[in-house]
Amino acid sequence: MSPSSPSSPAPLHLAVALDGTGWHPASWREQVARPRDLFTAGYWADLVTEAERGLLDFVTIEDGLGPQSSRLLDPDDRTDQVRGRLDAVLIASRVAPLTRHIGLVPTTVATHTEPFHISKAIATLDYVSTGRAGLRVQITARQNEAAHFGRRTLPRIESYDHTDPATRALITDLFDEAADYVEAVRRLWDSWEDDAEIRDAATGRFVDRDKLHHIDFEGRRFSVRGPSITPRPPQGQPLVAALAHATVPYRLVARAADVGFVTPHDTDRARAIVQEIRAEQEAAGRGADPLHVFADLLVFLDDDPAEARARRARLDDLAGEPHSGDARIFAGSPAELADLLQEFQTAGLSGFRLRPAVAGHDLPAISRGLVPELQRRGAFRTAYEADTLRGLLGLTRPANRYAA
């Protein structure tokens, strides 16, 4: 019997990655797509509510500090794809009061923003959502995005995984900076002990200042004094996630994240990636800490698998070229996808982040097709079992590093 025996599968975790009208560049041309609504609150509320209907663990919301591009490192001048997007933290915050259980994980770019601002924004998202906030940290080596800030110039590189020493040094530097960024953000979340607010009428003190801490973060590129201006958020430490494709980013995941998103194309590769991340985790002295590794998959889902494949072909035709990206592309039925997820799971993955090819079609196919299929197999929750995102992922509320 295979290890993915349907009689005793471990429950898996599911997230969806929200980006515009979907992850296929021609998705906006589908009849179900709502390209004219992309900049309205109602559009995002509908998507996140649909994901919550499917009892998913969380949604991520893509973001960037420049227009989307069909090229990895340069802008393009295309007019045939969706361009423009709203700030992901604000989208997450806007939908938080309209949802009750699902985690909200916006993307933030560490390369050009301030850890102090992001720390209080995500802490506040955690208050606004009563314990459902996370952040997905990302770097950017794009020169055009650096030019939007004008504070630093980045040398031109050909790709993120180029092996020449200069490229490697730049990428390593940006990821080291991101690791510092996460460390500063995490310290700021802990800079208030949970019971710092005392409202002691007898002495007239609102806070016990011994329970507020300077974080005195000193990194190679920046320092932050602290404490935060926002009290410790409900989860103590909101979720930190990162997408990783190679050793340097695996190291960031291993050192700094609660969830890593990876992009294996088969089970063997998935197993190798998980092993590499676990080894980095040991090396970083975090071997005992829970760390989820999720695989990303871009999905076309239809009850009739032939229809899913035809849809993929139709969208590729509209786009003028077959779409390929970092993640494996799946086109088929919910049952076939459930088979694949359970097979992948044997490689040591604890969940999946699905990228709907067409948000208006494939997201409901996940929540109304895939999820019931997994539930039938006993592999997915049938009700939300916890109030917080950490709780859904089986992560405890961490002790405060500064508490005596």
Partner: protein, 457 residues
């Protein structure tokens, strides 16, 4: 014929970090939990207020090297709270204070444009310029500015943000399924800005928002601050809520508009104002006195005196006379992260004046701080408060008020239920929202209309 009545603008400031908030009151709730913000915002919207206002602070205040612990400490993030409030309100404007020294234009412009989209046109930005090195220690680039450069950066920051907002005209998104054209213009969002503080170029990635640009507020009081407001702002958040002071400030600022080619009605003056209501005048006065004593404990009074004396005064009795010793004008200031410190530009003169006042009135330290500090602006029955507010506005002491209740979050409820109906009866405050955007509520033109009318003339 008499002049038509001016319509009053009303807004609500969520009470936070300062000693206005009486946190020890049994009715006081959380100033962090979102349910408090929801309650407060819904009250303001029920009362048809123009907007809700959030202040900002980027470092916990310290005094004598330790964190100031006598007032409310801590607050949530401005943008995040406002975006969430957009989900629980429909018309209320959402105004946030965001500093121009510790931010970058591309990021802030994205956040305000996003907030304007996500609220269907209700966003406003109070541009403040706190510049000090103390606050700068919380920022990775440690950036802070000499005092004299803060408005130069603020102006260029705002100009740059406007260039970004204007980099989309509003008609670029075709989303034409048949032809496959999403954008009309491959260059949508292109910008180039070259200046003293910012040298940036590229493509702004948020399409034009419902209001075109957020409404701009200014809240500085210096000469540079007033010029900045006259040139750039749609509204001023001032501290001059008294009748004569308000009239002087109003006249001063409005007289500065002409040289920027602007009309007097293009800049609204909205002072921060506190209030205490009672069933009778006496009851309101008693309550106001009691609130003042809660706001200024003995310990608080000593700390406030330290703003001016710039010395440790903990050995003094707050119920006793003022210190004989003079303020220390040489040492680094012992109170940090407070805008008030800059209000006392000549500490020796202030100390002299206060000693004379205290002696003449036989005031203790605490009495002095209670009497000279922010007193409640509107104290009385709902009838007298409604009448006074109306009179101030008709007499050009203000165009309206930003109310700061002393209780979180229920401190606005009584005003909404008792005073607003009286203002409506007087015909000086809206019975319902007439438009949907904050610009509509404030009677401000949409920047696109302004642009079109300039182009047509």
């Amino acid at each position: 014929m008499s002049k038509p009545l001016k319509q009053i603008h009303l807004a609500a400031h969520f009470p936070g970090v300062n000693n206005t908030t009486v946190w020890s009151d049994p009715r006081a709730g959380s100033h962090i939990e979102f349910s408090s913000f929801t309650h407060f915002a819904r009250t303001a919207e029920r009362a048809k207020f123009d907007f809700l206002f959030l202040a900002e602070g980027l470092r916990l205040r310290e005094q004598g090297g330790t964190i100031y612990d006598l007032d409310v400490v801590g607050r949530p993030d401005t943008f995040t709270v406002l975006a969430a409030l957009a989900a629980v309100t429909e018309r209320l404007g959402l105004t946030g204070t965001i500093n121009s020294t510790f931010n970058e234009p591309y990021e802030v412009a994205r956040q305000f444009a996003s907030l304007d989209h996500l609220s269907d046109g209700r966003a406003a930005w109070n541009v403040v310029t706190s510049w000090d090195a103390f606050t700068g220690e919380n920022f990775r680039r440690g950036g802070f500015l000499p005092q004299e450069d803060r408005y130069s950066r603020a102006r260029e920051f705002l100009t740059t943000a406007h260039e970004l907002f204007d980099s989309w005209q509003g008609d670029e998104i075709l989303a034409d399924r048949a032809t496959g054209a999403f954008l009309r213009d491959a260059k949508a969002g292109s910008f180039v800005h070259t200046g003293k503080h910012f040298d940036i170029h590229g493509r702004f990635n948020v399409p034009r928002s419902p209001q075109g640009r957020p409404v701009i507020f200014q809240a500085g009081d210096s000469e540079e601050g007033r010029e900045f407001a006259a040139a750039e702002a749609d509204a001023i958040f001032s501290r001059h809520a008294q009748r004569e002071q308000g009239q002087a400030f109003y006249a001063d600022v409005k007289s500065r508009l002409a040289k920027y080619g602007r009309r007097a009605d293009q800049l609204l003056i909205l002072p921060a104002a506190t209030f205490v209501l009672g069933d009778t005048e006496d009851e309101a006065r008693d309550t106001a006195r009691e609130v003042r004593r809660q706001q200024v404990s003995g310990a608080t009074a000593l700390k406030h005196l330290e703003f001016v004396w710039n010395r440790d005064l903990s050995a003094y009795d707050p119920e006793g006379p003022l210190p004989e010793i003079d303020p220390d004008v040489d040492a680094e200031h012992i109170s940090r992260g407070r805008a008030q410190v800059r209000m006392y530009r000549d500490p020796l003169a202030t100390a002299r004046e206060w000693r004379e006042l205290a002696e003449a009135n036989k005031w203790s330290i605490r009495d002095l701080v209670i009497e000279t500090g922010n007193r409640q602006n509107f104290v009385g029955t709902p009838e007298t408060v409604a009448r006074t507010i109306d009179e101030y506005v008709q007499a050009d002491a203000a165009d309206g008020f930003i109310l700061v209740p002393h209780i979180t979050p229920g401190g606005l409820d009584e005003f909404a239920d008792k005073v607003v109906p009286l203002l409506q009866e007087r015909g000086v405050f809206r019975a319902d929202y007439e438009g949907t955007t904050l610009r509509d509520h404030l009677g401000l033109t949409h920047p696109d209309e302004a642009r079109e009318s300039r182009a047509a003339s």
